[in-house]
Amino acid sequence: MDFTLSEEQTLIRDSFRRALQHLVDLDNIRESARTEEKTNEALWKALTELGLPGVLIAEDYGGMGLGLLDAILISEELGRAGASVPFAGSTVLASMIISTLGSRSQKEAWLPGLASGEKRIAVGVSVLFSNRKMENKLVFEKGKLNGGSSFLLDFAGAQGYLVSDRNRNFYLVEANAEGLSKRHFPSVDQTRSVGHLDFKDVSAEPIPIEDSLQINQALNAARVVLAADSMGVSETLLEKSVDYSKERKQFDRVIGSFQAVKHMCAEMTADLQPCRALIWYAAYAYDHLPEEFDLNALLAKSHMDGVAQRIAKTATEVHGGMGFADLTGVHFWYKRANSNRATLGSPKHLREEAAKLQAL
């Protein structure tokens, strides 16, 4: 047994960490946060050079052909940095669904562009988990889509959309198709782009889904990726808390010397440490232990969501008024953690799926 990263994986992680440290700071996070699009296109370009968009796409289509474990290493770094670039939607869900289920012509039309970073696909699957009444149901007839799709991930700047109806039928739509209206969603997470679409007789291509279990797998893969993002987010929150508590003085001592503060930080660590193995295992299972994958993916995200929520709150508390203020930027990570929690199924929803999976 070797529960550690390979040399290549360490290299991937380190190169992304270094690049992101270099390219992302609070100033450009704030800049992205101020725009509707959120996405930092310069950062996207730079990360494209490191191979980010093609990480899960086969080499035949110009991708890196790597595994989910590699993808989550990148995701953790994106979360750690608070990077405003597409990932869980376009790079993970869209690439995977088209790679595994798309027709030959769909693959040829989209995968090379996705792999090179020239194209992005926003993904709308909220209808599968959201309890909201959808007045505007998605209906596909005679090659045309009508209705709506909400909460598309990686929305801004996409060249295509991949949307699902309640029955897990997926459709591909060109972003410049006629009859499409687009709306940015003002999400609490100010570091990533989300949006809504309305369709009025919009040309669309169904994805020929033979085996809907593969849809499940893609969704679960994206969930592991979000869990990894939250892990990175939590790492940053913890690190900021520890650093701050060693600097900030009250009552003539650094606040980190108070047991109350030490215990807050120790509890964050104790909560967070085991998450890494859980998330790594789930990602490893995708490629190597397929029968273990779905359950572990559901465990990983539902658990990480809870941990990240607690850490987000505790880290804010360690910072006192500084945590409520915008100055240290702690709130960007607080919001990203809470946003991941509600994306692609809340913990409660995932636990229900996990129980069903085990015939409970």
Binding site: S126, F129, S130, N131, R132, K133, S150, F151, F185, P186, S187, V188, D189, Q190, V194, K249, Q250, F251, D252, R253, V254, I255, S257, F258, Q259, A260, V261, M264, Q309, K313, T316, E317, G320, G321, G323, F324, A325, D326, L327, V330, H331, Y334, K335, N338, S339, A342, T343, S346, K348, H349
Partner: protein, 403 residues
Amino acid sequence: MDLNDREEHRLFREEVRQFISSYRHLVPTETAFSYRLQPRPYSEDVLAWQKLLVKHGYAHRTVPKEYGGAGEEPDILKNQIISDEFFKESIPQGLTSQGISMLVPTLLEHGTEEQKAKWIKPTIEGDIFWCQGYSEPGSGSDLASLQTKAVEDGDDFLINGQKIWTSSATIAQMIFCLVRTEPDADKYQGISYLIFPMDTPGVDIRPLQTMTGHPSFNEVFFTDVRVPKSQVVGGRGKGWMVANSTLKHERGMLSNANGSLDRLLKIKKLLKAETWNGDCLGKDPLIRDRFIALQARVQAMRLHEMRMISEAEKGGARSLGDMICKLVGCQLNYELDCFAIDLMEDHGLNFDDDPSITSASYWQKQSMYDLGLIIGGGTAQIQKNIIAERGLDMPKEPRVKGA
């Protein structure tokens, strides 16, 4: 124990109900929460409503007539009746700004005749808005270490220094402020409590953005700000004692079980309105379980508050039961908000500027604001220290210099 209203209180309850039905049409449309989130001058209808409440003795009823109140005898049960009846009918109660809830009681307790006569009436009527100048960059939990200096100059003090996290400073006409007047005294003995106008020359306000997206925080800088000595409240060097009596009021203001009940009832509505696969959310066993668990906590806090009120009415001293209210109430509010957000799944991530309570962004902002209140007015950790050291009489953490 007898929880029935005594005759006097039964009549009073009738009177409150009568008032509500006669004046319901004057209720302002904007919520107090939207003002806290996004400080701005009160609208005409909010001010008119406040004046109406003061006039009828439904806000600040015990403030003596000569200072603009109704001059009623203190009767905690009557306060509770007002609060319950207003709450039941979703009628906004009197405003709760820092000036109204903290400064006014402090002036009543420690102010000079002139100070009381000048400031209380316009403050409770909402015409003068105050901000609280306590925290400094180096002095938050350790408030008594504050460094803003006030040096004697003839009949005045000259103030130099900086405050931070000053909520609503941009709209405040006045500040109540802690400054160091006796540099040689012990840190608790050298502080004075000063009140002065925010437009005094040398006061410079710089807004600070917060996590809610509204710049409700400010830095306030003082450069040779001249304030007459007569503006000291409670005497020179007595500021720490005066401030502590104010903090006591703040902690009461931050934890009010009706606020938790309000959140709970809004959640109850959500449980009926939102559906999943055709069933309303309230039918989901897990959600029911979580809701009832929170309901029990809210109910416990409401009844606890009533018990504390009865004890206080009988003249009991501040007890352990009082000390836990801020800690427990603020945490409970935050958890209620997070539950509401969970119920809305990804739609609960809405963060637009719609302040109406039907919008999902309301819960996001409320949750952040409530997290802020877990920190403000004495952090949760400081509350726990107080409960353990003063309430349970446990030994203090040793003071270590420079650790």
